[in-house]
Amino acid sequence: MRPLVSLVRLNKSFGDFRALRDVSLDVAAGEVVCIIGASGSGKTTLLRCVNQLVEPDSGAIWVDGELAGYRAAQGRLHRLSEAEIARQRRATGMVFQRFNLFPHLTALGNITEGPVQVLRQPRAEAEAEARALLARVGLAEKAESYPAQLSGGQQQRVAIARALAMKPRLMLFDEPTSALDPELVGEVLAVMRELAASGMTMIVVTHELGFAREVADRVVFMDHGVIIETGTPAEVLSAPREARTQAFISAVLA
């Protein structure tokens, strides 16, 4: 079966810093892939390439059989228009480390913004679905709250609901619990666990090795812009083959 996401030989530099070096990765539909690694290892850059928040210097990104950002014709790649790229992004939900909720909109407004403004869904229908999503992340009673009135964990759960409202084929998580107080991490991981169990395809950049061990189908370890090791959680987390993976895991668990 064709993978839902194919990243083929991605390279990306920021000035002199090489964030990605010839990185390739396939993710099958329904698979949960956790990417681990030290900061600066390129894992966030890799994730942001998938929904084109970062444009790679070279390489190809395929999402659901569609080439991201370009149209291939007669041996040439033609850059897509901004509107076409925006359309491609709809199929991919993204959850940010710092939540990035829209502070001038209520929780409900944050969730209905995309469906109403981008998908042109009728407002009443979008609100009904948004309330169902809020209930799913355990925040049914917070519909009218503004982000500033919510805790970090609640904000991140609203952010997950906002991404799900676009009915994405794929969800990207960029260190979704790194900005949270320790006691709020669990409630966000619980929502992500439920999402994984529902069959959603997920790529998760995380430092939560426990979550990766429990939920991931596959764990990818990155270092200095290269995928060092990939395998099941048991293989990569419990019996890593590479010395760099071993060093990283023992440093995190220490």
């Binding site: 509107a83 992004r89 990035n100 502070p103 909109l105």
Partner: protein, 282 residues
């Protein structure tokens, strides 16, 4: 009490707190009152005929001048904000041509005095006797370029050049993560600006824009040099006839003060409207 660690320290719990006397403040108040009193006396015994002020404050010429001032200030500011928003969006775009146009616009209209710009627009007929578009029609410039239209163009285009920088500052004040979150739910740049960025930028933009609006109310007085009959021009027309120069200038000053006094609470209302969701207000 068990909570007091050293029982040998004096117990201050029954002492009354005495407020500090601010002798300097009292002295300053006395000096200011003295100055104000002498100023009031100077105006009272000076050669000002206050009944003339009272007589002309609601004169039809003055009131129509006031109306022209207010309408021109609102219209020029509205058009100026539109131009400023467009110029700011162009300046912040990734298109170098649009960036260049926006930079050139701000350079040209911030670089020359507003009074010169007003005179240029008003005298446009000297270089372009007719204006129009091929296929649509041509008109004589003098028929179109009335004092009011020249004043509107001059004030609005000049205001747009300044407003573009205010709007740009507002756009820069919004976190990059907001642009990214908007993109991630499939918004194009313009939709993200309209729905996500501008509502948040308003909080930063309103105080300086309120400032500029107050400036605009007074800037309209410059249009008197191109015969636009705003309130200062009306006052001048009257004192050219009756020689009550100071009285009519006071009439105009009182109206300017009143208009500006009304604008300040309006600005506060707007600020409250756009602080929704911020930590300060709802």
């Amino acid at each position: 009490m068990a909570a007091v660690p050293h029982s040998d320290l004096p117990d201050l719990s029954d002492h009354v707190v005495v407020r500090r006397m601010h002798w300097g403040r009292w002295a300053a108040v006395a000096v200011i009152l003295l100055l104000l009193a002498s100023l009031a006396r100077a105006f009272a015994v000076g050669q000002i005929e206050w009944q003339v002020v009272g007589q002309f404050i609601t004169a039809p010429t003055i009131l129509s001048g006031l109306l022209n001032t207010v309408v021109m200030a609102v219209a020029a500011m509205a058009l100026g904000i539109m131009l400023g928003v467009v110029a700011a969006v162009m300046r912040m775009s990734s298109n170098p041509v649009l960036q260049g146009v926006a930079l050139g616009y701000a350079w040209l209209f911030r670089g020359t005095p507003i009074i010169l710009q007003l005179l240029l627009w008003f005298n446009l007929a000297l270089i372009f006797p007719t204006i129009g578009l091929p296929g649509i029609g041509w008109v004589r410039t003098v028929d179109v370029m009335t004092p009011a239209f020249a004043a509107l163009l001059g004030l609005a285009i000049n205001q747009g050049a300044y407003t573009s920088e205010v709007v740009r500052a507002g756009m820069l004040s919004v976190d990059v993560g907001q642009y990214e979150a908007a993109k991630a739910i499939g918004m194009t740049r313009l939709r993200a600006l309209r729905r996500i960025v501008f509502p948040q930028a308003m909080r930063v933009v309103i105080p300086p824009l309120g400032n500029e609006f107050i400036g605009m109310v007074k800037l309209t007085s410059l249009a008197s040099v191109i015969q636009f009959t705003e309130i200062l021009h009306s006052a001048q027309n009257i004192y050219y006839a009756n020689a009550h120069v100071i009285e009519l200038l006071i009439v105009a000053a009182l109206w300017y003060l009143l208009v500006v006094s009304i604008l300040t609470p309006l600005q506060m209302l707007l600020e409250r409207r756009f602080s929704r969701g911020s930590a300060g207000g709802r």
